[in-house]
Symmetry: C2
Subunit: 295 residues, 2 copies
């Protein structure tokens, strides 16, 4: 069964004539006659009675007619609405993000995206950098919000901003009111930090190692919120990303920016190299870059 055969069939049924149908289809009468016959052969039924003067649908032809119309209608819909669907951003976007960024960056950005493209479908995956990279390479997600460094031949990285790491202290901590804190001041402080399964945990460790600062780590957790709770209870201090600090409204914690050589992490979007970035992804890029760096 071929689409043009269905078109010819419908034309012949409507015209009740092979000749007129061929005329309307812009082909010669024998061609249409031949295609109808072929359709009859493949379906194993007779579609028309040839009456010498025109043709008339048989039972089988009457049964096929509405189906043929449905099929052709679906084809037409596809051809004409494909582009408009794309224009309206009715697609799907799968976004990944590391757990230390997701809760601070995604909600606002995805909310905005839904506003811009009400018909879009968004899938979120929160996972560690390594798994996100793998997901991008395997085309399971379209884009990921992560931090540097990323070394992978198949990944394109756009650094869209910098997220400073602040010192997080209990409100009553003496350092909090002092001002002008440097890394050196933290040397003897007990610290609470993230497990190194998080890239943020690795980044902090790396930063301290670079500054030859031996951390006195009293606890490693797997969630930032747990770290914050420990700090609140006075078990130690911590380095916390600014984006997380901005979301912390608990009066029992305070944040201080280190006065010199303040550590930070990059905020980046990772894409699959070679893939055309989906329209929704491009808009997501704009939105999140704008949120990170308000002009």
């Amino acid at each position: 069964m071929e689409l043009h055969q269905l078109r010819y069939f419908v034309a012949a049924a409507e015209a009740e004539s092979i000749s007129r149908a061929a005329d309307r289809c812009g082909i010669a009468q024998p061609s249409l006659s031949q295609q109808i016959r072929k359709l009859e052969t493949t379906l194993g039924v007779t579609l028309f009675d040839r009456l010498g003067r025109g043709v008339a649908l048989t039972d089988a032809g009457r049964a096929l007619l509405p189906r043929a119309r449905r099929i052709l209608g679906a084809v037409e819909e596809a051809e004409s609405n494909l582009q408009s669907d794309l224009d309206e951003g009715a697609g799907r976007l799968a976004v990944g993000a590391i757990p230390t960024m997701a809760p601070y960056l995604l909600p606002a950005a995805l909310n905005q995206l839904r506003t811009d493209f009400p018909r879009c479908e968004i899938v979120v995956r929160e996972d560690f950098t390594e798994n996100l990279i793998e997901a991008i390479v395997d085309n399971r997600i379209d884009v990921a919000v992560i931090s540097t460094p990323i070394e992978h031949d198949l990944i394109d990285l756009d650094v869209i901003g910098v997220d400073p790491l602040l010192v997080c202290l209990p409100t009553k901590h003496p350092l909090l009111s002092r001002g002008g804190i440097t890394l050196r001041d933290l040397r003897d402080q007990p610290t609470v930090t993230l497990h190194e399964m998080h890239c943020l945990g690795q980044q902090i460790s790396g930063f301290c190692a670079a500054k030859r600062l031996a951390q006195n780590v009293v606890c490693r957790t797997t969630q930032l919120s747990t770290v914050l709770e420990f700090v609140r209870l006075g078990l130690g201090v911590s380095l916390i990303p600014e984006m997380a600090a901005k979301h912390d409204h608990n009066p029992e914690r305070g944040y201080v920016k280190l006065s010199r050589q303040a550590p930070s992490r990059d905020i980046a979007l990772a894409w699959r190299k070679g893939r055309t970035r989906p329209r929704l992804g491009l808009r997501f890029f704009e939105i999140i870059a704008n949120n990170v760096n308000p002009n």
Copy 2:
């Protein structure tokens, strides 16, 4: 856009690989690759990103995929359900009948047909012979219940029974109780009869002319029920088909069969010559023939 292109497209989208898709479709990899490219050209969009290691859908591809599946599903449905629809008699039947037969033959027959094929659709047309013949020739109706004679090259006629014409009299009429009535006894009776637009009216006139019986026609009507009413009021007698008499339960009228050379009309089904008789039509034939001639 062609159906095989959609098939290849869906296969490639599902396999995420041109090679594997080609394998599954039973064609060579370059062929499938080429058809995908063609589809992209006709639609004016890129459907896949070629990643060296497999392919991945673009926005456009993702938009097309459900549509392609819908189209192919509709095609499959048509191919597989066409026959079953025919077997279940889900078709349409357009039946015609002359007004002097329709009310007595159609209701029971069509009711039976609906019982046999609950999904069928029936259209009834009640009209004069000439118009019915024309409707059959033009394929507007599939079959007609009519009477002889019919002379038309494009009509096949099946005589399925004979309908005697009875003398219809008011109950109090002296002839009714006499028995052994012949045409001669009607010679001086005032008669009421149908207009000759009805074939029955023509048949009765013809019959009387053949017997050299000059009718004393006091009234011509266009409906049998009007004739009956005139008879009831004693304005005249009439010849009424037996099938109508059987439906007449009014005690003020009586019917007598003529004892010799009783007139009758044929009951026939008319078909378009050259058309394959629809399944529903064949069943209708069986039912009505059986109703007319109960074995």
